[in-house]
């Protein structure tokens, strides 16, 4: 009864307070954001989809239907690029997560000077990526790089070794650089999540006789699992779309060894002026990431149900 009277009063106040209908008022509030999204997301996306059905270049556009997609479906090189991209993503993200977890655990430990270490972990993330990558270019240089020099000094190689000149070493060198750039963010997110785990949980487990590894496995990991899953997705999207690192280090070479989907798309659309083919690749990237996100949401939901506190 009281609730009904209260609701009526609220309705009355609302009616008196505004001449604009409530639904219109709501639309007005979200209109700026909607306009913004339409201009910078929806329109370019629609335009990309349209272009993917065209043979488009500097000379003009011609409708070709699904031809761009058919070409991609039958291209062995494109298949290799897709496989390489996923391998690149899983390897890099896996390393970032493992290193991030180890780093966060160490930074969360009660060791002297940990505040200093927390600051020292930031530079790869904070300094401009291009500058960081140029640093790595020099590190990988066969004649002037410290890595090649060290390898010669300890006798691993007879002479200068150009890390970025060989297919396999170039790929893994790019992975290392990507991990170097991406790990600090993962580490700091894991660290923040670990610091949110109540100290009492560890003390209770310690009183019950649980050792460090048991506490890490049975308390820390389940408690930060939602953050691990979130970081896995975010990191996967960033890595999948990672462009600058590969472009600065190798431009996708040598002989396509570091060409991922995003590099391939850029080369096709911007370097070769084949906008239609490039757009088809971009659409495939959107679809793949869309599927990936759906799988992620499914798992996140599962994880939250499994590791959550049961609160409604």
């Amino acid at each position: 009864m009281t609730e009904t009277v209260g609701n009526a009063l609220v309705q009355e106040r609302r009616a008196k307070g505004s001449a604009i209908p409530e639904s219109l008022f709501g639309w007005l509030l979200i209109a700026p954001a909607m306009l913004f999204i339409m201009v910078i997301v929806a329109w370019p996306l629609a335009e990309t989809i349209r272009l993917s059905f065209m043979e488009a270049g500097l000379g003009g556009e011609e409708y070709v239907g699904l031809e761009n997609y058919q070409d991609l479906a039958s291209s062995r090189r494109f298949h290799q690029t897709v496989v390489r991209t996923f391998y690149w993503m899983f390897l890099s993200v896996g390393l970032k997560l493992v290193l991030g977890l180890i780093g966060a655990t160490l930074l969360n430990a009660a060791v002297p000077g940990r505040s200093l270490f927390r600051v020292l972990v930031m530079p790869p993330w904070v300094i401009p990526m291009a500058i960081g990558c140029i640093g790595w270019l020099w590190l990988y240089n066969g004649y002037f790089g410290v890595l090649s020099g060290t390898m010669q000094w300890i006798g691993l190689t007879d002479g200068p070794f150009e890390f970025l000149a060989h297919k396999r070493s170039a790929f893994y060198s790019a992975v290392v650089t990507d991990v170097w750039v991406g790990t600090p963010m993962v580490t700091l997110f894991f660290l923040a999540a670990m610091q949110g785990v109540p100290k009492d949980l560890y003390e209770a487990a310690y009183v019950d006789g649980a050792g460090r590894w048991y506490r890490f496995r049975r308390i820390t990991i389940p408690q930060i699992m939602p953050v691990i899953v979130s970081m896995a997705l975010l990191s996967a999207i960033f890595t999948f779309n990672s462009f600058e690192i590969i472009w600065i280090l190798t431009e996708g070479g040598p002989r396509g060894a570091t060409t991922t989907l995003i590099i391939d798309t850029y080369k096709k659309a911007i370097s070769n002026y084949k906008f239609g083919e490039g757009a088809a690749r971009a659409v495939i990237i959107v679809v793949l990431l869309g599927v990936f996100s759906l799988i992620y949401l499914f798992f996140l939901n599962k994880v939250n149900r499994h590791y959550g506190s049961g609160k409604k």
Partner: protein
């Protein structure tokens, strides 16, 4: 179950000494409550017993065995935390079974122990739920269940009821007292709430500034507080401390003049006092009577609780004075009232805050 002995325990955090040479002997199956204001060191002392903090000096004996250097799991203790420390991602069953999983106990024995604890704590139908789906009282019971399954020698409780609302706290107090009887276990319980201490404890340790002010039964603390601090800490509402001057004193009693000139002869062992000494008379609000010669009190606030009326007033010099009078007492806010007390109900404290033993107070067994 076992005895718990603390021998000269001291604890410092850097330059700050928080516990000063604490020695206690807790009997087997005794329910002992550490009580004191915030920062008095009661939780630190409990954590030292648990093995979560290391004492700077001193020894801890459980069941006659020195466990000072032993990790918590080897001390034969279990602890219930203020926050309950339940694992939010685990079910009630898994929370209770946690210590048993650590011990790698066979599944059959684990089931049996968890079911027994759940039965005692009326959690049998909640075992599949997660902590987030339980009420505060149920969560508290799960935390206690996790302690029970380990069959510890000593149970430690760190302010376990402070997160509950007043009504539930009352219920849980009764449940914990029943649990103590049922388990017949040695229990050490930390609280800042003197009502919890008085209602649950076999004996109470009153701590202040890292020192033991008094260790005794609840009624001993109530009738024979050793210091002014204990006297004012135990009892609800707090004891009034009225400044007075000694007129005459001998071994059988002390004649004192209260503020306002009223004189009383208090039956205390006052051999150490002499005429002119400044003292304080301790008067419990519940011992105050209306229209009895004594003090003129201005009534500032009057709380009618039905059975009793609590008067918050002030004396002529502005000092606060509280009285607990019958519910139908004829008093009005803004007026004044004559309040007195029987001399044998009064406590007398010397200038250093130590009590002069009452000679006519009830003897406590």
């Amino acid at each position: 179950m076992a005895t718990l002995d603390l021998l000269s325990i001291s604890k410092s955090f850097g330059a700050a000494k928080v516990l000063h040479d604490i020695s206690l002997a807790i009997e087997d199956r005794e329910f002992v409550v550490f009580v004191g204001p915030s920062g008095c060191g009661k939780s630190t002392l409990l954590r030292i017993i648990a093995g979560l903090e290391e004492a700077t000096s001193g020894q801890i004996m459980i069941g006659g065995e020195d466990v000072s250097a032993a990790p918590p799991v080897e001390r034969g203790i279990s602890m219930v935390f203020q926050s309950y420390a339940l694992y939010p991602h685990l079910s009630v069953y898994e929370n209770i079974a946690f210590p048993l999983r650590v011990q790698k106990l066979p599944q059959v024995e684990m089931d049996e122990r968890v079911q027994r604890a759940a039965g005692i704590l009326q959690l049998t139908d909640k075992l599949d739920l997660k902590p987030g789906q339980l009420s505060g009282g149920q969560r508290q019971r799960v935390a206690i269940g996790r302690s029970i399954v380990r069959n510890p020698k000593v149970f430690l409780f760190d302010e376990p009821l402070s997160n509950l609302d007043a009504a539930l706290r009352g219920d849980m107090r009764v449940e914990l007292s029943q649990l103590h009887r049922q388990l017949d276990a040695t229990m050490v319980y930390v609280t800042h709430d003197q009502v919890e201490a008085m209602t649950m404890a076999d004996r109470i340790v009153v701590l202040n500034g890292g020192r033991v002010e008094q260790f005794g039964t609840p009624m001993e603390l109530y009738h024979h507080p050793r210091t002014k601090f204990v006297a004012s800490f135990i009892g609800q509402p707090n004891m009034n401390l009225v400044p007075a001057t000694v007129v005459a004193a001998d071994a059988s009693g002390a004649k004192v003049a209260l503020e306002g000139g009223h004189e009383m002869v208090l039956p205390v062992a006052a051999g150490t006092l002499s005429s002119g000494d400044k003292v304080e008379v301790g008067i419990r609000p519940e011992h105050v009577e209306q229209d009895r010669p004594g003090l003129d009190v201005a009534v500032n606030v009057l709380e009618r609780l039905g059975g009793t009326s609590i008067v918050y007033g002030s004396l002529q010099d502005g000092a606060r004075f509280c009285a607990s009078l019958p519910g139908d007492a004829v008093i009005a806010e803004g007026g004044s009232v004559h309040l007195g007390v029987a001399p044998e109900a009064c406590h007398l404290f010397d200038a250093s805050g130590d009590v002069l033993r009452r000679t006519s107070a009830p003897e406590i067994q």
